[in-house]
Each structure stands twice: as structure tokens, then as C-alpha cells.
């Protein structure tokens, strides 16, 4: 996979930028060993987001490649969630680019709904559809957005519900479930769409402590299975043990980024050290 980028899968603007790297690859030198080669599924370039006068994201360059598990950590208010919500356009970026397989999804006329269907999202507050039972929560998107026949969608949903251990609750309504159960259903709902990558927005932050474990266990299994995941989290031990890569956000930018073990054991930036000191102390 360390071969030169295949012609045609970069935008023309990139070809010039990458030609030097391409030459290096031909010479047998891997241009950037820290990042998996090949085209990212989603990439942001110079992503900015302001709410009124308040700038939350101040230029973020980020990419997630197939099979990667990336954790985004940082203090509350550092812009982690806003960043994730900008990636699947639940928030519209103020400036910068979001690229899906190299295509600009912010371009006028781009089918945003189809793009979103290719990225799953798991929310802090679960956001299960309150009017639907567990099974229909996992079916509606498949039928209404992906256009699958209902019977096929049901079978798929049951399969993923079994994977998160919730297949016996197919007839329950969300309000009858515990937080951990709701979040596992939410994961099954996202998986039922069979997305290319799954975004997690602080998936355990709204859970009682005793329910965090069951959700993290499911996420750990997904990570092992090779699913591409971007996880915004405060669960530092989980981020360290499960992620391939960690991005530390501070003040609306990615202050430090690298392999999980490296960032946790030997952070380079002072801000990262300070932030992780609290975790290591606790």
C-alpha cells in the first residue's frame, strides 16, 4: 500500500502538491509512516466554525482513513463536539473544506443527505426516535434514506441489534430502556446503515458510571473488527487502548496528533502534557 497514489483519485489541485511525495514513494521511501496511505474517507482542510463573534474552530486539518480508529480528546469547550458535528454537516462550517473521498461536500448541489448516510453518528444524548420501538429505530433510516426493502432492513437491524446484545428488546420503546441500552441501540441503528465510518460524540458522557462499561465493550469490539471510527471522548484509558491515533484539541485547533501510545506516554506539547497530567494523576 506504500505505492504512489493512483492517478485520478486526487483532485487536480493536489496533484501538484503531491508530485514530490510521489517521487519519494517511487524511490521506495514511505512519505509519512505515521499515517496510513491511501485516500482518506473524510478529510477536513482549514475547517473553521464561528457562532456569532465566538470562534469555536480555528482551522482544523484532519483525515480519517479506512480502518482507522481515531480518538479526539481535549478539555470541555475545546471544540471537539463542534468539530465532529461539522464533519457530517450537522453544523455548517463557516470556512474550510470537508472532503468525502476527495469530493467537496460543501459544494452547492452536493447531496448532503447521501453523504450523511455514509457516515454513522452516535450522540451523547442517544437521540433514539422516541415514537419508534427499538427495531424500527434501526429500520427507518435503511428504508427512508437508503431505500432498502423493509424485510431486508429488518433482518439487518436484528443482526446488528444482536451484536450489541439488544435483540431481545426489539419491541421496547426508548423510554423503557436504560441509558446504556439506549446507547447500544443507537450504535446498532448507526451500524444498520452500514456506514463507511462511525462518528461517536461523547457516547458515554451522559451515562451512569455502571453503564459506561457495556457501551465501551461494544465499541471496543467494533474497533477490533476493523470498523473506521472517530471518537470524541473523555474516556482516556479507552482512547489510549483502542485508538490507532489520538488528536488533542485545544482552543479550536488540533494541538497535537499522533499514535495513541506516543501521545499518551510522551506528549510533545506543553498543553497536552498539562491536560494528560490530570488523567495520569487520576
Amino acid at each position: 500500500m506504500a505505492a504512489a497514489p493512483a492517478p485520478g483519485d486526487q483532485t487536480s489541485r493536489d496533484d501538484a502538491d503531491r508530485s514530490a511525495e510521489g517521487a519519494a514513494s517511487v524511490a521506495g521511501v514511505d512519505p509519512s509512516p505515521a499515517e496510513p496511505p491511501g485516500q482518506p474517507i473524510v478529510e477536513t482542510r482549514g475547517l473553521r466554525k464561528s457562532f456569532g463573534e465566538n470562534e469555536i474552530l480555528a482551522g482544523i486539518d484532519f483525515a480519517v482513513h479506512p480502518g482507522e480508529v481515531v480518538s479526539v480528546i481535549g478539555a470541555s469547550g475545546s471544540g471537539k463536539s463542534t468539530f465532529l458535528r461539522c464533519v457530517n454537516l450537522l453544523e455548517w462550517p463557516s470556512a474550510g473544506q470537508v472532503l468525502y473521498h476527495g469530493q467537496d461536500v460543501l459544494a452547492r448541489g452536493y447531496d448532503v443527505s447521501r453523504f450523511r448516510a455514509r457516515l454513522g453518528m452516535v450522540f451523547q444524548q442517544f437521540n433514539l426516535f422516541n415514537n419508534l420501538n427499538v427495531l424500527d429505530n434501526c429500520v427507518i433510516g435503511q428504508v427512508r434514506a437508503a431505500g432498502r426493502p423493509t424485510s431486508e432492513a429488518r433482518e439487518r437491524a436484528l443482526g446488528y441489534l444482536a451484536k450489541v446484545g439488544m435483540e431481545r428488546y426489539v419491541r421496547a420503546k426508548p423510554r423503557q430502556l436504560s441509558g446504556g441500552q439506549k446507547q447500544r441501540v443507537a450504535i446498532a441503528r448507526a451500524l444498520s446503515m452500514e456506514p463507511e465510518a462511525l462518528l461517536f460524540d461523547e457516547p458515554t458522557s451522559a451515562l451512569d458510571p455502571e453503564m459506561v462499561g457495556e457501551v465501551l465493550a461494544v465499541m471496543g469490539e467494533l474497533a477490533e473488527s476493523g470498523l473506521t471510527m472517530v471518537i470524541v471522548t473523555h474516556e482516556m484509558a479507552f482512547a489510549r487502548d483502542v485508538s490507532d491515533r489520538v488528536a488533542f484539541m485545544d482552543g479550536g485547533v488540533i494541538a497535537e496528533e499522533g499514535p495513541a501510545q506516543a501521545v499518551f506516554s510522551a506528549p510533545e506539547q506543553a498543553r497536552t502534557k498539562e491536560f494528560l497530567a490530570r488523567f495520569h494523576a487520576g
Binding site: 460543501l106 450522540f123 444482536a162 423503557q176 446503515m193
Partner: protein, 273 residues
């Protein structure tokens, strides 16, 4: 039947009995027209209100709509706003006169009085319901819309599948209230001669000159109608809330093959039962 007293000797209760005995079919017809107008008008009004409410919540921001679509949406929103304000801000009695005589004089459209009444009640209810529906939609947790967007559902699919079912449930008490109000307020349609309950009472009074017994009887009938409607609606609401319990699916209700998906890539959590 008891022997009724002659006209001159009748006391109050005799008059009540006499009216019920001789004019029950008039009153019954009034009840029928009143309930028909109130029920149909409320149903049509709710549909109108739902339509207006949904259209008014179509996102019109810069990235989800092109310039032409935005201008169109803004125009439609202004027109719908005018509709709501005009029909909430004028008395239904006046609206009845304007619609019934106005359509006749301006467009030579001569509706019969029941149709005209239905039109007025429906449009009037629609204006009130539009605001109730809008409030109902806005009361739904934005997380519901976000989750629907996140699985790739568009505005209409989200509305139909997720938001409206919850919003309709939330506005059900207010809708029932509109129905009860309409049972009473259709009485203003007597100004165009619609033969609802109040108009029928007025007609009986015109024959018998017994204002107090006639209208007391009419009032009692209205009270029975509204009271029983309120009770029925409350029963229906309780029924719609659904059972508190659910049944766990077992291996006999979920196909075994689905519980044990073989050879897929997310590790095995399949149950052994």
C-alpha cells in the same frame, strides 16, 4: 305519553316537555349539523394546520436551499403568515358573512349554507391549528431531527417518520380543545342561516315565543355535547399513551438465523439460546 297542558296553562316544565315532544326532530337535526360542522371542520382544520406548520418549518438557510427556492419559501411563509393573522384576528361570525355573501356577490359562487359554514369553520380552525402545530413541532427535541439527518433522512422523511408522529401526539389535547370550542362556536353560523343547533333553537323560539325554555334546553344540549366529547377525548388520549410494559422477544419470536449471524465481522455476541 302524558297529556300535555293547553297552551295557556303551561308552566315552565310543561313548555320544556312540549318542546321536546313536538320539536325533538328539529333539535336533533341541529345537533347533527353542529356535530358535523365541528368534527369535519376540526379534521380539515387540523390537516390545513399540519400542512401550514410543516411548510413553515422547511429549512430556508443558505446551504440547504438555492436562491430561487429561498425566495419561494419566503413568499409562501409571508402568505401563510397573513392567512393565520387574518383568520385569528377577525371574528368567525364576520368571516361567515364575508365568505358566504362575498363569494356570491364577487364570484357568483352560491354555496349552500352548510358548505359555507364548513368552509369557514375549517379555514378558521386551520389558522389556529397552524400555530399549535408549529409549537408542537418546535417542542420536539432537536436531537430527534439531528439523529434523522445523521442517518441521511431528508426534511419530509424526517417530518413524516419521526417529528410529526411525536408532535401530533403532543398537540392532541389542544386539538381536542379546538373541537370542543368548535361545537360551541359553530353557533355563530346562524348569521348565514346554517341550520345548526342554535339556529334551530331560534326557529323554535320564533314559533313558540318561549325564549327561556328553548334556550335553556339548547344550552343543556350543548353542555351534554361538550362534556361527553371532553370525556371521550380524555379516554382516547389515555389509550394512545400505550402500555407501560413491553414483552421481551425470545428465540421463538426472533428467528434463530438472525440471532446468530455467521461469518460477519463484528465479533460474536450471538446468544446461545
Amino acid at each position: 305519553m302524558t297529556q300535555l297542558a293547553a297552551a295557556g296553562d303551561r308552566n315552565f316544565w310543561d313548555w320544556i316537555a312540549y318542546i321536546v315532544e313536538d320539536y325533538w326532530s328539529w333539535l336533533l337535526k341541529g345537533v347533527g349539523v353542529t356535530m358535523f360542522l365541528a368534527l369535519t371542520g376540526t379534521v380539515v382544520g387540523v390537516l390545513l394546520g399540519l400542512g401550514v406548520g410543516v411548510v413553515r418549518t422547511i429549512p430556508a438557510d443558505r446551504h440547504s436551499a438555492g436562491p430561487a427556492k429561498r425566495v419561494l419559501l419566503k413568499t409562501i411563509n409571508v402568505l401563510l403568515g397573513v392567512y393565520v393573522e387574518v383568520f385569528r384576528g377577525t371574528p368567525m361570525m364576520v368571516q361567515a358573512m364575508v365568505v358566504y355573501y362575498g363569494l356570491g356577490m364577487a364570484f357568483q359562487i352560491n354555496l349552500n349554507v352548510v358548505t359555507a359554514g364548513l368552509l369557514v369553520v375549517s379555514i378558521n380552525t386551520g389558522a389556529y391549528m397552524a400555530e399549535i402545530v408549529r409549537g408542537g413541532i418546535q417542542s420536539i427535541d432537536p436531537g430527534q431531527t439531528e439523529a434523522a439527518k445523521a442517518v441521511g433522512m431528508g426534511h419530509w422523511a424526517t417530518m413524516r417518520g419521526v417529528i410529526l408522529p411525536q408532535a401530533i401526539r403532543n398537540i392532541l389535547p389542544a386539538t381536542g380543545n379546538e373541537f370542543v370550542i368548535n361545537i360551541k362556536d359553530t353557533s355563530v353560523l346562524m348569521v348565514i342561516g346554517t341550520s345548526e343547533l342554535f339556529f334551530q333553537g331560534k326557529s323554535i323560539d320564533g314559533i313558540l315565543y318561549q325564549t327561556f325554555p328553548v334556550y335553556l334546553l339548547v344550552a343543556a344540549i350543548y353542555l351534554v355535547l361538550t362534556f361527553s366529547t371532553t370525556r371521550l377525548l380524555r379516554l382516547a388520549e389515555r389509550h394512545l399513551e400505550g402500555p407501560e410494559n413491553f414483552t421481551l422477544a425470545t428465540s421463538s419470536t426472533v428467528p434463530e438465523s438472525i440471532l446468530r449471524p455467521g461469518g460477519e465481522n463484528f465479533g460474536s455476541r450471538a446468544r446461545t439460546r
